[in-house]
């Protein structure tokens, strides 16, 4: 009997090992994906769920302080707020749409210029990509100095040309367009990069065929190149659009908390930041963030649908 015991034990171990490896084999698709899933769970799902929970409470002052469950009250407060929330939605949308339109048009123009090989091509490409690698906060500080209404370079330049000084970032109506300009300056290179990749991948044949048929350069662009480029353009819009919606750094670096004295550049992101970090109203701020998240998801979904239609 005593002889049997060890063999039985080792048999059991072997059995357990076999069982485990059989189990692992059966579930290998889950097992291999597990690290990634845990990562997503901890870093995306959990914060999102926590924010959703906070948005249903009246949490303020300190997150650890007792707070009451208030249902959808925060959402109601936010959605009926015509003083800060809706103007912020409007600014977020106009910032994104105008910046995006400028970036796509300019980006396409520059990409077309860089498409065909020319002398010094490498240097020009590097120079164009420089704004992309600069830190947004540094970019914000740089433009803030340039656009200073009293001692800034921009107004001195205008003065040399005999044009009266402009308020730029300090004007109630000119602040948002100025920040849009900064965004275009910084992010057009990224659009150029994406579009250039798309252009390089295009086959030359349709363009040559159109040329043989006597199509003008404009016709070839609008009827041959652009339709073929549509999926790439939509990718650029998608990537840049989401980024532009979420812009925070340059706005905060140039106008500070609340987006200026009149909230001139207060987008949803800046508003939510102010609500949580300045006002410590975590419930309300979470509600704004959840709504903002839904806006981003919604626009992304719309664009993806459009992309599917374009690639068909």
């Amino acid at each position: 009997m005593s002889v049997l015991t060890p063999s039985r034990t080792s048999g059991r171990t072997a059995n357990a090992q076999e069982n485990f490896s059989a189990w692992a084999n059966r579930h290998r698709k889950w097992l291999f994906a597990a690290p990634a899933m845990i990562f997503v769970g901890v870093l995306i799902i959990f914060p999102l769920a926590w924010t959703l929970y906070l948005s249903l409470t009246d949490s303020q002052g300190s997150v650890r302080a007792a707070s009451d469950f208030v249902g959808l009250e925060n959402y109601l407060t936010v959605l009926t707020d015509t003083e800060r929330f809706w103007p912020a939605v409007g600014r977020t949308m106009s910032f994104t749409l105008v910046a995006l339109a400028c970036e796509i048009i300019l980006g396409m123009a520059i990409a077309l210029l860089l498409w065909r090989p020319f002398r010094g091509e490498k240097w020009v490409r590097v120079a164009i990509l420089l704004p992309l690698v600069a830190t947004p906060v540094a970019v914000g500080m740089m433009w803030r100095l340039i656009f200073d209404p009293n001692i800034g370079f921009a107004n001195q330049l205008l003065g040399l040309l005999g044009i009266p000084p402009q308020p730029w970032l300090s004007g109630q109506d000119s602040a948002l367009p100025t920040t849009i300009f900064m965004d275009v300056w910084q992010w057009t290179p990224m659009v150029v990069l994406i579009l250039l990749a798309g252009l390089t991948a295009l086959s030359d044949e349709p363009d040559e065929a159109a040329r043989m048929d006597g199509a003008t350069a404009l016709q070839r662009f609008f009827y041959v190149t652009l339709p073929l480029m549509m999926p790439t353009v939509i990718v650029a819009i998608l990537l840049r659009g989401i980024d532009a919606l979420k812009t925070f750094d340059i706005l905060y670096a140039t106008k500070g908390k609340g987006g200026g004295s009149f909230h001139e550049v207060e987008t949803l992101n800046v508003y939510a930041y102010g609500l949580s970090f300045d006002y410590n109203q975590y419930g309300l701020s979470s509600a704004v963030l959840i709504l903002f998240f839904m806006i981003i998801i919604g626009s992304m979904w719309l664009l993806t649908m459009r992309k599917k239609a374009a690639s068909k």
Partner: protein, 427 residues
Amino acid sequence: MKRRSVVQYAAVAAALSLGLTACGGGSSESKGSDTVRVTLANHVWTEGIKAAVPEFEKSTGLKVELTQLGEDQLSDQYNVKLNAGSDEIDVMMYRPLQEGKAFAKNGYLADLTSKVAEDADWNWKDYQDGPVTASTFEDKVMGVPIITEREVLYYRKDLLKAAGLEVPKTMEELEAAAKKISSADTAGFVARTGKSAAVTQFSSFLYSFGGDFTDESGKSAVGTEEAKKAYAFYGGLIKNYGPKNVSTDMSWPEAMAIFTQGKAAFYTEADSLYKNATDPAKSKVADTVGFAPLPAGPAGSKPYNIPSWGLAVNEASANQDNAWKFIQWATSKERTLEAQKAGVPGPRASVWADPAGTSTYPKDLAAAIAVSAENGVGHDRPQVLTVGKAREIVGGPIVASITGADASAAADTANAAFQKFLDDENK
């Protein structure tokens, strides 16, 4: 670090940063350890302390781990870490009037009442009344003030001389002088213009016109006749005699830049920033800048006299005794004197009484400070929990007045909004 606090830290950081940048953090563990973790703001005071830390480490055998951040980053850092009950900070540099009340109410700050009373040599009684009151919450000492500020008048001696003017002693004289000097390329007057940033510097004008942010019963007082006159006067000075194309986002760096570039004759600002104007490396007018007490309004000259920064101990810190040791050293008479000589006005009466304490100050500035310390008011912003929001509300009429809108109507709107804010906060 406790498991619970890790989860809380992650939760708060994640919740606050959704859609924003992720928050960094995490450092070595310590429980009553030999390492004191100190978080300080970028300031002249901090530079002095940083240089002296080895001296503290040598005499106590403790190690100091220093984190230094900009003002806004510091606030954000506290919001995330203290909210999560993190024990990663032992000593924290904080703004008693901006965050002190909220932090104390949230239980972020350790009660130092018994600690300050213990050491007679260090002497808590040496601290000026205003700063002590501002660092106290519900009769408990929550922090030790390190830097104090009063509003003074910065002016250009050369411009006044050229115009044949005396240094203005009243608000009327200030306005007349600003008007006389104001020209196409030199402004008569400059000051902060940002809705929130200007509130502290406007406060002295408000008091000197006989107003305050709230009345004795705690009700909003920004709609009173006195307040309306103060709003109209401060905004009017900037609108009529300020720089052309004046921005309504200026805090001190922008306003100071205009003054030190030689583009303004008068400037009202905190005295603790005087080095920016007298240091030839930073200022084109270093030789010609003069200082005077805040001109008197209808209610006299009533500048604020406040502690702008203090040191506190994190309630969640497991290293509170060593944290206190650091504070005791950093706020000692010797260190305060050193800091004051380097240009940081301190809160200790004995250091002000010591001729060495003002030896490095321009004479007129030292005299102006002495006057302001006497008739100063102990706050420079509404004394509420959510100071950030309150500043935006009471700052509205300043901006309205600067842009030429109806300041009186703006004051009425602000008054109603501020009253609602106070009601909500006291609910």
